[in-house]
């Protein structure tokens, strides 16, 4: 159960979607990252996360919201649901410049399908300016086809305001479930 002293928001999604960056944008302390030099050429980036990213937001009085980033690669799927269980919310980040972004989202929706019915969740689509297709509305259609209704927003995780907007939509859902 999520309790006062163990609040967490989990960032998950494809490699390179910006989970580490998003956590860094919100965390009060420099995020703890577990990046290593990437050896998977298909990811197209120098470093990639192999453990958890971690940051936190200090609420005062010894309370914190902990921010976790899951490793994005599919081989770490076994960790995804474990990390997200009991979270206050889940943010799924998708990199629209990857070959099949809709398929990518489907992987995460499947991986979290046990949690999603009761979880506050938002989907952030990155690099929509460089790669406008599929459109954000295509992702919404996909969610609707699965009977899911979550915020889907185009984001640039380098902008703190974009990350905040995503998190705010998660908090709103949590509030409405009280």
């Amino acid at each position: 159960m999520a309790t006062l002293n163990h609040l967490k928001i989990v960032f998950t999604g494809t490699p390179g979607a910006g989970k580490t960056t998003a956590i860094g944008a919100l965390s009060d302390t420099p995020p703890v990252v577990t990046d290593v030099r990437n050896t998977d050429a298909s990811l197209g980036k120098e470093n990639t996360t192999v453990g958890l990213d971690f940051g936190q937001v200090d609420l005062g009085d010894g309370q914190f919201v902990r921010l976790f980033g899951t490793p994005g690669q599919l081989r770490f799927e076994f960790m995804w649901q474990i990390i997200a269980t009991d979270a206050l919310g889940l943010v799924i980040l998708i990199d629209n410049s990857r070959p099949n972004p809709l398929d990518d989202l489907a992987i995460y929706l499947d991986a979290y399908k046990d949690l999603l019915p009761t979880m506050s969740c938002a989907v952030g689509i990155g690099r929509t300016i460089e790669c406008p297709l599929p459109t954000v509305d295509d992702f919404c259609d996909m969610l609707a086809a699965r009977g899911l209704l979550f915020p889907v927003l185009a984001v640039d995780v380098r902008k703190r305001e974009d990350v905040l907007t995503l998190v705010d939509t998660v908090l709103v859902q949590a509030e409405m479930r009280l």
């Binding site: 159960m1 999520a2 309790t3 006062l4 609040l7 919100l26 009060d28 937001v57 200090d58 609420l59 005062g60 309370q63 919201v65 076994f78 649901q81 474990i82 269980t85 009991d86 979270a87 206050l88 046990d114 949690l115 019915p117 009761t118 979880m119 506050s120 938002a122 459109t135 954000v136 509305d137 919404c140 969610l143 609707a144 209704l149 979550f150 915020p151 889907v152 927003l153 185009a154 905040l164 907007t165 998190v167 705010d168 939509t169 908090l171 709103v172 859902q173 949590a174 509030e175 409405m176 479930r177 009280l178």
Partner: protein, 266 residues
């Protein structure tokens, strides 16, 4: 001075932005923003200096008499310095002008204009002669969408991007509406967004056919939070929904927002 915008002929309705006492820099920016933002705007905007107008954009506190102005503008936007009194109010644009804010405000005007039935054409004089015009009368315009009184609303699906781009708080409002049915007052109170803006957004969602409308008298009780299904992963035990935790309440969520700098004002 920048000459009034020349516009490429289009099928889109034209709105006029009458500028007054703007600095050259403000005017140049406004003109550039209109060019860049054309795709995001639904109407063609034209900068004018006199005559009829839809929006008055002022670089000073008081509007001067506008030659040829007949009706009041739909909105008046004041451009002020950041430290000026009232710089935070919704009708003010702060220098240096910012693209997003400028386009947001014009989008808001567009929604208001779109939600208002088009002005009736001037009455034609009654003729004693029978009309020779055999053209069938034009079909009546579709009735304006209005919010049913005391109705409650909930999203059927997440709205298309076009309905969310107008204001930065639209995703927030949509999030509230994604969770359960809310009436206009509840939406405004919970979201801390002005009732007028909430109403405009609801109207846009209704027109976009993504809103489930529950009429007064036909209200169904909201279903209780869905219990989570038993995990099939084997690594997790059945859990209660986060919402059931007594440790999380609105005060705590407010605290999180405050710590993150997520503050909203009407």
């Amino acid at each position: 001075m920048i000459s009034p915008s020349s516009t490429v002929p289009s099928d889109r309705r034209e709105l006029k932005l009458l500028v007054q006492n703007l600095t050259d820099a403000d005017l140049a920016k406004a003109a550039a923003f209109l060019r860049i933002g054309r795709e995001r705007l639904k109407f063609d905007w034209k900068i004018v200096y006199s005559g009829e107008l839809d929006v008055l954009m002022l670089g000073s506190d008081e509007a001067q008499t506008v030659r040829g102005m007949v009706d009041d503008p739909v909105a008046t936007l004041r451009v002020v310095d950041a430290h000026a009194a009232g710089a935070e109010t919704s009708s003010h644009l702060v220098r240096p002008l910012e693209y997003e804010r400028f386009i947001e405000m014009l989008s808001g005007v567009e929604r208001r204009v779109a939600a208002t039935p088009a002005a009736a054409p001037a009455a034609t004089p009654v003729s004693s002669k029978p009309s020779l015009n055999t053209t069938p009368p034009a079909p009546a315009p579709p009735p304006a969408v209005v919010l049913p009184p005391a109705a409650r609303f909930r999203l059927r699906r997440w709205p298309p991007l076009a309905l969310l781009q107008g204001y930065r708080y639209h995703p927030r409002l949509a999030s509230f509406l994604s969770a359960r049915h809310l009436d206009l007052d509840e939406l405004a109170r919970l979201s801390n967004v002005g009732k007028e803006e909430c109403q405009e957004f609801l109207l846009a969602l209704m027109k976009g056919e993504v809103l489930d409308v529950e009429l007064a008298g036909a209200r169904r009780p909201e279903p209780p939070p869905t219990p989570p299904p038993v995990s099939t992963a084997g690594t997790t035990s059945p859990r209660r929904p986060v919402s059931s935790s007594p440790a999380i309440d609105r005060g705590l969520l407010s605290k999180i927002r405050l710590s993150l700098g997520l503050t909203w004002r009407r």
